[in-house]
């Protein structure tokens, strides 16, 4: 199972296997614990010693889905993350394509500009956003969330797509141009179908960023527009943390994330480094 070219001894292999198991446990146990706790009745959530074998009980899920704000907040999160992702992907793809295929004054500087913007700490923007949205009467709207999420989703999408476009050979487009197509036609009918996986990856990553976003939602959203991360943090009440409901909500929030992570596996490195490193 492991290349023990090192010394060919089974001791070394054994140590490596043990290390591997420890590493897997380290990475997975907290998540497993989270899901397991959510499947126990709320009063047993805190029970010690932790019970690793039990029959799944969906009482917590029933609670939050029926009584809480979970479903409306879920809808808010889906909506905001989707629109943000769509905006970021479309505008980002257009920009990235231009930066990679054309050579003009901005094609070198603008990507760097976007890169620097990606580094802006959220808190720097949250304060003016709070004031501005307040004066525009846009607090407690999903629009304010979408606008604020674009601040990080758009630079991210641009850099991701730059990475994808750089890998696209220009010949097919040139063939199309020579055949008489306009640049727009080339883009729509040749480039987009070919880079569809890249565009999908970008869209999913941008969606993920919006899905996980916390501080903008905490400050700018209200009962009508709040998103799931804020909900789950809100289970920390004055009565103490409602562990049963919290773990159920947390598991539901994390589920799509895990699915997307498995799906986007191959492109993860590129996504995390925004295309600075080839995946």
């Amino acid at each position: 199972m492991l290349r023990s070219r090192l010394q060919g001894t089974s001791i070394v292999t054994g140590v490596l296997v043990l290390t591997l198991v420890l590493v897997l446990l380290w990475s997975l146990l907290p998540v497993i614990w989270l899901v397991a706790t959510s499947l126990k009745p709320a009063r047993l959530a805190n029970a010690l010693p932790p019970d690793w074998t039990f029959l799944p009980d969906f009482e917590n899920y029933a609670n939050i889905l029926q009584h809480g704000d979970f479903v409306p907040y879920l809808w808010n999160t889906v909506l905001v993350a989707s629109v943000t992702s769509a905006l970021a992907t479309v505008f980002g793809t257009l920009s990235a394509y231009s930066f990679v295929r054309f050579n003009f004054r901005g094609s070198y500087l603008l990507p760097l500009f976007y890169l620097i913007l990606r580094m802006v700490p959220r808190v720097v923007l949250v304060v003016p956003y709070f004031i501005i949205m307040g004066e525009l009467g846009l607090l407690n709207t999903r629009t304010s969330l979408i606008v604020s999420y674009t601040t990080f989703a758009l630079p991210f999408a641009i850099w991701l797509m730059i990475g994808f476009f750089k890998e696209l050979p220009a010949e097919i487009e040139e063939a199309g141009l020579v055949d008489g197509a306009t640049r727009i036609q080339v883009l729509l009918h040749i480039v987009v179908p070919v880079t569809a996986p890249g565009i999908a990856t970008t869209a999913l990553f941008a969606f993920l960023l919006g899905w996980n976003e916390f501080i903008f939602s905490l400050i700018l959203a209200g009962p009508d527009s709040r998103t799931l991360p804020v909900l789950v943090a809100g289970f920390d009440t004055d009565r103490g943390i409602l562990w049963g409901e919290m773990t159920a909500a947390a598991t539901l929030i994390v589920l799509p994330v895990i699915v997307l992570a498995v799906v986007l596996q191959r492109h993860i490195v590129r996504g995390l480094t925004m295309g600075a490193v080839k995946g």
Partner: protein, 324 residues
């Protein structure tokens, strides 16, 4: 139907002029040609650029403006211009400096640990001949979990009485009574760092794994033939080859660590006291606990300048060691 075969164009400028020439000479109806035509790329970059100016540059400038007013949300109409005195006030707060110190310690220690763990994990996974994809996915998982959920999960696991960590540590005899991981002044920052390590090591792990997989086998094999030990191969071949990658990874991770908010907010809220209050939390507290918008804007603008400084360094480093 294929036109003349064009040689693979290396310079983008000739490619662009080819494209424009082609557009000019091929069949566009005469009516269209009379309209002023914006070159495609100007039109294409415009939406993103306008949007960015509107949603990022604008608010940043507004923040700058806010930072020169005395503006308290509890008394919003009584705001007045104070020049740079908010900056003076900010810099005179002891919490400002302690928060910078906490942020620095947090960033340096966390990234340091993540570097070694990430590299170790990458070496491990790179050596697998079986189950590589499963292991990689499993190790990578924490990085995707919503930061707020990560924080809440670890808050429970680290709970002094009810937490699983304390339970097992006591069961196995490592400690006598439950440690207050997040509340003890000697443990809190360390605990917060370890949660960051848990969540963000996968990032460096993946970057290093990608790098390790790109090291040419022949290099390592000829070194083995020459009698090099694994350690020597690591230090003299792998590390030097991966240096640009390591640098890029470390810089990105450090910049993200400096800006951390979500996880620490939920884990400790900056406490006990201000022992885990990183700079983002300080700005948040001034704005939304003390309602001092002007001072909060000043603090966050200082953060912005710091981060800007480092991101320019990063961009220069990235340009210099072009990863393509």
């Amino acid at each position: 139907m294929m036109g003349p075969h064009l040689p693979r164009v290396m310079k983008r400028s000739s490619q662009a002029s080819n494209a424009r020439d082609v557009q000019k000479t091929t069949g566009e109806p005469a009516a269209k040609r009379r309209l002023p035509s914006i070159p495609f790329h100007y039109g294409a970059i415009l939406p993103a650029l306008l949007l960015t100016i509107l949603v990022v540059v604008g608010p940043l400038l507004y923040s700058l403006r806010l930072s020169v007013w005395r503006y308290n949300l509890t008394d919003p109409f009584n705001r007045y211009y104070v020049g740079l005195s908010n900056y003076e006030t900010a810099v005179q707060q002891p919490v400002f400096w302690s928060s910078l110190r906490v942020t620095l310690i947090y960033t340096v220690v966390a990234v340091f640990i993540q570097f070694f763990l990430g590299f170790g994990f990458a070496l491990l996974v790179n050596h697998l001949t079986w189950g590589k994809r499963f292991t990689r996915t499993a190790i990578m998982l924490p990085a995707f979990i919503t930061p707020v959920v990560v924080a809440l999960t670890w808050r429970f696991l680290l709970h002094p009485e009810l937490g699983t960590v304390n339970y097992y540590l006591q069961e196995w005899g490592f400690i006598d009574s439950g440690l207050v991981w997040l509340g003890d002044k000697n443990l809190a920052l360390f605990s917060v760092i370890m949660v960051d390590v848990w969540r963000n090591t996968p990032f460096l792990f993946l970057v290093f794994l990608a790098g390790l997989q790109s090291v040419p086998h022949e290099l390592l094999e000829s070194a083995s033939i020459d009698g090099a030990s694994p350690f020597q191969k690591l230090m003299h071949i792998i590390v030097p080859l991966l240096k640009p990658l390591i640098l890029v990874g470390l810089i990105i991770r450090s910049m993200d660590a400096m800006r951390e908010f979500d996880t620490i907010f939920v884990l400790t809220g900056g406490g006990p006291g201000t022992l885990t209050e990183v700079i983002s939390l300080t700005a948040y507290r001034f704005a939304f606990r003390n309602f001092e918008i002007g001072i909060a804007a000043a603090i966050s603008f200082i953060i912005f300048l710091l981060v800007l400084f480092f991101s320019i360094l990063f961009v220069r480093e990235m340009q210099r060691s072009r990863i393509d």
